[in-house]
């Protein structure tokens, strides 16, 4: 019973169409949990069920042990959330917006409001109307709003959407800090794998409303898995290089793509490979691990599903 969030066999049907099927996962205190899926996968729909904005067709969602359906008030107390965009009252100041949401939780604690304005670095504009804020500032105000009542679970739908790299980096740093220092459980959705890899301890991948896999980045041993490695030896020499490498590594999968050679190789064997290629007389322009795009990863994951 230590999980903060438990999603138990949740289904969601809208007008006969299954939007979410058999979704099951849980989030523990102190971890940043990613919720990854392409557009239309059902991330927002799931989050809306978690916060009680949308009814659950079957199954249940427990927040700190309380069902969001049966004991809404107790469950929602533990949640701070931004669903979709960080919408605030544009005609009110940042501070008044926070006062507004503080009142919704009970007593207004001015100290807490000041503390959060400082945390998200908005204290210098607290008397300014939100209308004048940039998206990043609104996003940060949204986070402050979600943290006001010291929730145990923070739910953010695409928190980095529309932010510049600096903004993304800041949000990432906040979330990690909150999880590590305050033991907060954070659930973030995104459709960018790279973001999930940087920000999350674990992440679930969903597609078409179904859970495809849950990846745990804290588990070591990923190094022994063959990863795609791209080597650029210049277009003219590509054919020859493929030949030479194939001879040396007959067991490995080797492809030609984008005028580069791609080899699936374990990380520890990479230095030897590169040395070999250079000693064989090729010029090495570039060699890097191929960061898979999300689509590739999905294809990989879905094909695994089908074959097993």
């Amino acid at each position: 019973m230590s999980s903060i969030l438990e999603v138990n066999d949740v289904h969601k049907r809208i007008r006969g169409k299954e939007i979410i099927q058999d979704l099951k996962f849980s989030v523990e205190p102190g971890e940043v949990f990613g919720f990854l899926g392409p557009n239309g996968a059902g991330k927002t729909t799931t989050i809306r069920m978690m916060v009680g904005l949308a009814p659950i067709t079957s199954g249940d969602i427990l927040i700190d042990g309380y069902s969001i359906q049966k004991s809404y008030a107790k469950a929602i107390k533990q949640i701070g959330a931004i669903v979709e965009n960080p919408e605030m009252y544009n005609h009110l100041t940042a501070e008044k917006n926070l006062i507004h949401f503080a009142r919704m939780n009970g007593k207004v604690d001015q100290e807490r409001i000041d503390e959060l304005l400082e945390l998200v670095k908005l204290e210098h504009v607290k008397k300014k109307k939100v209308r004048t804020f940039s998206l990043g500032m609104k996003q940060r105000l949204g986070i402050a709003q979600a943290l006001l009542h010291r929730p145990k679970l923070l739910i953010l739908d695409e928190p980095t959407n529309g932010l510049d790299p600096e903004g993304i980096r800041m949000v990432r740093a906040y979330l990690r800090r909150l999880a590590e220092e305050e033991g907060l459980a954070v659930l973030v959705s995104s459709h960018l794998l790279s973001e999930m890899e940087l920000m999350c301890d674990r992440f679930a991948i969903i597609q078409d409303g179904k859970l495809i896999s849950i990846e745990d980045q804290r588990v070591a041993g990923g190094e022994n898995q063959p990863l795609p490695y791209q080597i650029d030896v210049g277009p003219e020499k590509l054919e020859a290089a493929v030949q030479v490498v194939k001879e040396a590594y007959p067991d490995l999968k080797i492809e030609e793509a984008d005028q580069r050679l791609t080899i699936y190789i374990e990380k520890e064997n990479v230095p030897a490979l590169l040395r070999y290629v250079m000693e064989a007389g090729f010029d090495l322009y570039e060699a890097r691990e191929d960061k898979q795009t999300l689509e590739d990863r999905f294809l990989q994951a879905t094909s695994k599903e089908e074959s097993s």
């Binding site: 809306r48 916060v51 009680g52 904005l53 949308a54 009814p55 809404y72 008030a73 929602i76 107390k77 949640i79 959330a81 669903v83 979709e84 965009n85 919408e87 605030m88 009252y89 544009n90 005609h91 009110l92 008044k96 006062i99 507004h100 949401f101 009142r103 919704m104 939780n105 009970g106 709003q145």
Partner: protein, 319 residues
């Protein structure tokens, strides 16, 4: 609940449109003031007692003649004649003979209740739909207070706003009226029912005017509120409510001439003033108690629908 109302009030207070509405109302009162001042006869122009009595007698002679010629509008002339005679017998000068005072000025300003009603309808129609439009409804509904509480805090805020605007209209009219016209000689309003004439102090008549006018716009505001909670469209809520406000009473009274059932229509009952003044209700069999019950039933229907839909609906704000 109080905190929720505080919130709604804060959001309303910082909206420019709220103040624009108050300003327009103020301009309205000042307009009436300027009109009243420029049309006010000076003291020496006011007729003496003998003069206004002679005038009323002359009027009655004309009415008498018109009464004999007209068939259908006989009642109108009968009423005028009875009222004039009552004034002559009881020494109650008509408005033209006493000049303007603060009460008559405030009474003229009840015309601005129409404007106020439209403002209240607009607020009622937008207080929910604006949250949907801005997407803030999601933040509002993912906090511990139940949806019903949120709905009612908004409704009560609309009523508070209406009360505030009414107090503003009342207060400004009173202050300006007292300042420019003084308290003067308080005259009385006459009520004609079934051939009997009664008099009512002007202040009481004024209070009834404002009160019954309030019932009218509270019902319409409730309707607008319900439409906007159900359909989330402020345009629809405003259009339907304002349209009903403007034509509802007219259509109802036209129907009431031919049938009996219009007495169950909302607009046959919103104007409670009809029980306190000469006109009488559109359908004979109606009583004040009947109207109050009909209004309560309508109110329950409007709010019931609003609560039901607002509770049940899935909140999706896309785009």
């Amino acid at each position: 609940m109080i905190r929720l109302i505080q919130n709604e009030w804060m959001k309303l207070f910082w909206r420019i449109s709220t103040w624009v509405m108050a300003a327009i109302l103020l301009v309205g009162v000042i307009g009436v003031l300027i009109y009243s001042i420029t049309n006010q006869p000076s003291a020496e122009q006011l007729p003496s007692e003998a003069q206004w009595k002679a005038q009323l007698e002359q009027e009655n002679a004309e009415y008498q003649q018109a009464l004999e010629e007209s068939g259908s509008s006989a009642e109108f002339y009968e009423q005028r004649i009875a009222e004039n005679e009552y004034r002559i017998q009881n020494d109650i000068p008509p408005q033209q003979a006493t000049g303007e005072n603060v009460w008559s000025f405030m009474s003229t300003n009840t015309a601005l209740l129409d404007l106020l009603s439209i403002f209240v309808i607009i607020i009622a129609a937008t207080i929910i739909s604006s949250e949907f439009k801005s997407g803030t409804i999601k933040l509002l509904l993912v906090r511990p207070p139940s949806r019903i509480k949120i709905l009612f805090s908004k409704y009560l805020t609309v009523l508070l706003y209406a009360l505030g605007m009414l107090a503003f209209l009342f207060g400004v009219s009173f202050i300006l009226g007292a300042l420019f016209f003084g308290f003067g000689e308080s005259s009385a309003e006459l009520i004609y029912t079934d051939g009997e004439v009664e008099q009512r102090p002007q202040v009481l008549a004024l209070a009834i005017d404002y009160l019954t006018g309030s019932v009218n716009f509270v019902m319409l505001a409730t309707l607008a509120f319900a439409i906007s909670a159900i359909f989330r469209s402020e345009a629809m809520a405003i259009a339907i409510s304002v349209l009903l406000y403007v034509v509802g009473a007219g259509v109802t009274s036209t129907l009431a001439m031919a049938y009996d059932w219009p007495k169950f229509l909302l607009f046959a009952n919103t104007n409670l003033n009809q029980y306190f003044t000469s006109g009488g209700p559109p359908v004979e069999s109606m009583t004040l108690g009947f109207s109050v019950i009909v209004l309560i039933v309508y109110w329950l229907i409007f709010m019931g629908f609003a609560v039901w839909m607002f509770k049940k609906r899935e909140i999706s704000v896309t785009g």
